[in-house]
C-alpha cells in the first residue's frame, strides 16, 4: 500500500499536450493514488515537451522532459 502525500491546497497539473476528459480522469486517478489533495486544475505548457509539472501552494515539482534535458545539458557542460 502506497503512502499518500498530503497536500492541503488545490493542485495544478501542467502537461505538454492538452488532455481530454477521459485522459484527465486517468491522470487524476494516478495522482489521487499518490497524493491527497482537494481539487486539481489542468494546464498546458508545450515548452515542457513531456512529463508533468505539479504546482501547489508555494511549491512546484518539476518532472518534465524539459527539466531532464536541462539536467543532461548541465551535466554535459560540467563534464
Amino acid at each position: 500500500m502506497k503512502s499518500k502525500i498530503k497536500i492541503k491546497n488545490d493542485i495544478v497539473v501542467t502537461t505538454a499536450m492538452e488532455l481530454d476528459e477521459i485522459e484527465q480522469a486517468d491522470v487524476l486517478s494516478d495522482l489521487r493514488s499518490n497524493f491527497s489533495f482537494e481539487d486539481a486544475t489542468f494546464s498546458v505548457d508545450p515548452t515542457i515537451l513531456g512529463g508533468v509539472k505539479l504546482a501547489f501552494y508555494d511549491r512546484v515539482i518539476d518532472c518534465s522532459i524539459e527539466r531532464k534535458l536541462r539536467q543532461i545539458c548541465s551535466s554535459l557542460i560540467k563534464r
Binding site: 502506497k2 503512502s3 502525500i5 497539473v13 502537461t15 505538454a16 499536450m17 488532455l19 485522459e23 486517468d26 491522470v27 494516478d30 495522482l31 499518490n34 497524493f35 508545450p46 515537451l49 513531456g50 512529463g51 508533468v52 509539472k53 505539479l54 515539482i61 518532472c63 518534465s64 522532459i65 524539459e66 534535458l69 536541462r70 543532461i72 545539458c73 554535459l76 557542460i77 563534464r79
Partner: protein
C-alpha cells in the same frame, strides 16, 4: 868676467833666496791656503750634491712607490667596479629573464584559459544544441499515449521526490 865674480854670484844667490822666501811668504802660502779652502768648499759642495742626489733618489723611490700604490689601488678599484658592474648586469639579466619567463608563463596561462574558455563555450553550445535537437525530436515524435505515459511516470517520480 864680472858675472863670474863670486861676490855677484853670492849676491845673486842671496837675492834668489830672499825672493824665494818673500814669494813663499806672500804668494805660495796664501795660494795654497786658498786652494785648500777651495778644495774644502768643493768637498762640501760634493757632499751636498751627494746628499741631494741621495735625497732625490729617496724621493724618486718614494714617488715610484706612491705611483705603484696608486696604480695598485686604481687596479683594485677597477676590478671592484668591474665586478660590481658585472654583478649588476647579471642581476639585471636575471631579473629580465625572470620577467620574460613570467610573461611567457602568463601568456601560456592566458592561452590555456582562453582555450579552456573556448572549449567550455563549445561544450555549452554543443550541449544546448543537442538538448534543443532532442527536445524537437521528442516533441515531434511522441504520441499522445506516450505523452500520457510520461505524465504518469512524472507523477510517480513526483511522489518519490516528495517522500
Amino acid at each position: 868676467m864680472s858675472l863670474l865674480n863670486p861676490i855677484y854670484l853670492l849676491l845673486h844667490a842671496l837675492n834668489f833666496i830672499v825672493l824665494a822666501l818673500i814669494l813663499r811668504k806672500l804668494l805660495y802660502k796664501p795660494v795654497k791656503k786658498l786652494m785648500k779652502k777651495r778644495d774644502e768648499l768643493v768637498a762640501v759642495q760634493e757632499q751636498k750634491l751627494m746628499q741631494a742626489d741621495a735625497d732625490i733618489s729617496k724621493r724618486r723611490k718614494e714617488l715610484e712607490e706612491d705611483i705603484e700604490k696608486s696604480e695598485q689601488k686604481l687596479r683594485s678599484e677597477q676590478t671592484a667596479a668591474l665586478a660590481d658592474i658585472s654583478k649588476k648586469a647579471n642581476a639585471i639579466l636575471a631579473k629580465s629573464q625572470e620577467e620574460a619567463e613570467q610573461i611567457i608563463n602568463e601568456g601560456r596561462a592566458n592561452v590555456g584559459r582562453e582555450r579552456q574558455s573556448a572549449l567550455m563555450n563549445l561544450d555549452i553550445m554543443i550541449s544546448e544544441l543537442a538538448v534543443e535537437i532532442a527536445g524537437k525530436l521528442i516533441k515531434t515524435q511522441l504520441s499522445k499515449d506516450e505523452q500520457i505515459a510520461l505524465v504518469k511516470e512524472g507523477i510517480k517520480e513526483a511522489h518519490l521526490l516528495e517522500k
